[in-house]
Each structure stands twice: as structure tokens, then as C-alpha cells.
């Protein structure tokens, strides 16, 4: 079974997603999935469309900017456009870590053979300026991105789409609770944004879809 990771890295925000998703590519390989990783300048519509058509991956993760009708890649070039090529996502489990794509593309592709996991509104990412030079030390960004990573790890482990989303949401809630009891000055400032991510994460289509290596 094949997996595909689409990981642009052309601006500050997607660089964070790029960094955090590296371990997911490794995890996928470790679990014996035939893992296709298209990153940076390879995250284009042409390359990704060809890969999907040729390899029919069972799972695709998109990192990048987006809107209800678009999932973007390198330099914000369009990769998936609703009404144009969203059919490429049919019969798969898709996780789109991009703003709002579940609201349009997700709804369009969701069916009994397709699970689309994503955000129905704008995904927020927090960071700590004091850690800007070293992403891996940024404990605040981790609060936002670790639930997302848990979601993918859970899918790779064989959990169903709905179970993976539940696990991620549980971790988001734990992170919110932890921040609420922290005494540092900045803790309260991340809370509305973390809570929003919790509210807008959804699984559409076949909720019981699962991967098998």
C-alpha cells in the first residue's frame, strides 16, 4: 500500500509544517508503506497529479495553504482545485493540513469510498518568537502541530479515520487544559487559536476507512 506526502517549504508557515511532517514520512516508511515524499519545488500540480494517477496512493497528506476550493503547494501554486481535478482524491484517505479545504473540496470528494480529513475554516498556528531560529525547540508550535502528527500516526497505525480524528482532538483538549493552568505570560494568548483548530477539524465521507501496510 502506498502513501504520499506533499510538503512545500517556501515560506515561514509551511516551513513549520514541513519540519513537523518529516517524522511522519519516516513513520510511514517504518510501517512498511511504500512512501512517496514530494517536497519543496516538487510539490506542484503536474508532479502530484502524475504521481497520484500512476501510483494510486491509499493515503495522501497535503501540507500547505488553502481555501474551500483550493489546496496549494510550492509557491502557493494550485495542486487541487474543486471542480477541476478534485476527483484525484477519490477512493483514498486524505488529510489536508491547510485552511478551509474540508469546507469545499472535502465535501465534494467525500463518499463511501473516500475519507477526507481537514479543517472547515482557517487553521491557526502559534509560535514563540524566542524559538524562531530553531523550530524543534518551539514548544508553542508543538502544541498546534503535535495533534496533527498524532492524527497521521494513528492512521498509519491502522486506526480508522474517525478514531484518528478523535485522538487528535483529545490531544488538542489536553493541550488547551495544560495551557489554562500554566502561569507563563503567553499561555493564555494561544488558547483561542488552539480551541478554534479543535472546533474546525472534521472527517467527511467514509469515517471507518483505515490503512493496512
Amino acid at each position: 500500500m502506498k502513501t504520499l506526502f506533499v510538503r512545500p517549504s517556501h515560506d515561514d508557515v509551511v516551513s513549520y509544517l514541513y519540519f513537523y511532517s518529516k517524522e511522519l514520512v519516516e513513520e510511514s516508511r517504518k510501517r512498511n508503506f511504500e512512501t512517496l515524499n514530494k517536497e519543496k519545488k516538487d510539490a506542484t500540480q503536474k508532479i502530484i497529479s502524475d504521481i497520484i494517477l500512476k501510483n494510486e496512493p491509499a493515503f495522501i497528506m497535503f501540507n500547505g495553504h488553502g481555501s474551500p476550493n483550493i489546496i496549494c503547494g510550492h509557491n502557493d501554486g494550485f495542486i487541487i482545485i474543486k471542480g477541476n481535478n478534485h476527483g484525484l482524491l477519490k477512493n483514498k484517505i486524505v488529510y489536508s493540513l491547510s485552511c478551509s479545504s474540508a469546507a469545499g473540496i472535502g465535501k465534494a470528494v467525500a463518499d463511501k469510498n473516500t475519507a477526507f480529513i481537514g479543517y472547515t475554516d482557517e487553521f491557526a498556528l502559534g509560535m514563540d518568537v524566542d524559538c524562531q531560529a530553531s523550530i524543534h525547540r518551539d514548544k508553542r508550535a508543538r502544541l498546534f502541530l503535535e495533534p496533527s502528527n498524532l492524527l497521521v500516526k494513528s492512521l498509519l497505525k491502522g486506526n480508522s479515520a474517525v478514531e484518528a480524528v478523535e485522538k487528535a482532538k483529545r490531544m488538542m483538549k489536553e493541550n488547551i487544559s495544560r495551557l489554562r493552568t500554566e502561569h507563563s505570560d503567553d499561555a493564555k494568548d494561544y488558547l483561542p487559536f488552539l480551541f478554534n483548530n479543535y472546533l474546525i477539524l472534521e472527517v467527511l465521507g467514509e469515517k471507518n476507512a483505515r490503512l493496512q501496510a
Binding site: D12, V13, S67, D76, M127, D128, D130, P192, F195
Partner: protein
């Protein structure tokens, strides 16, 4: 003052109280915004600014209703 202006004023006060090390990325802007930039978005009622207000209000409502 309209209700919308009042809400915006409340959110601006909340943003003003943010710690200086906090940055937030929202939407398709490929950059993180610090306190002053977030406030500017709200003051100018940009798309990002409106979303910030919406997110903050959702959280305040959830607090009031005991959801978080």
C-alpha cells in the same frame, strides 16, 4: 458605538495584552503576525482581522458557557 465596533474594541484590548513573544499565523498569509500586526489587521477590518475577531469571540463564548 455599534455592536460590531464594541466587539472589535474588546478584541483589540485582548490583543494589546498579548505577550510580546507570541506570533500567530492565520489563513493563507505565509508569515507569523505579532501582537501589533494582529491588532492592525483587526483595526483595518481585513479578512484576517475579521477572522481573528471571530476566533476570539468563539473562545469567549465557550468560556462563558463552560465548554473550555
Amino acid at each position: 458605538m455599534t455592536q460590531e465596533e464594541m466587539v472589535r474594541k474588546i478584541i483589540l484590548e485582548r490583543l494589546k495584552a498579548m505577550a510580546p513573544n507570541v506570533k500567530i499565523a492565520l489563513g493563507s498569509k505565509g508569515e507569523f503576525l505579532d501582537r501589533d500586526a494582529l491588532m492592525k489587521e483587526v483595526q483595518n477590518s481585513t479578512q484576517v482581522g475579521k477572522k481573528i475577531v471571530e476566533i476570539q469571540m468563539r473562545y469567549l463564548r465557550a468560556l462563558k458557557e463552560g465548554i473550555v
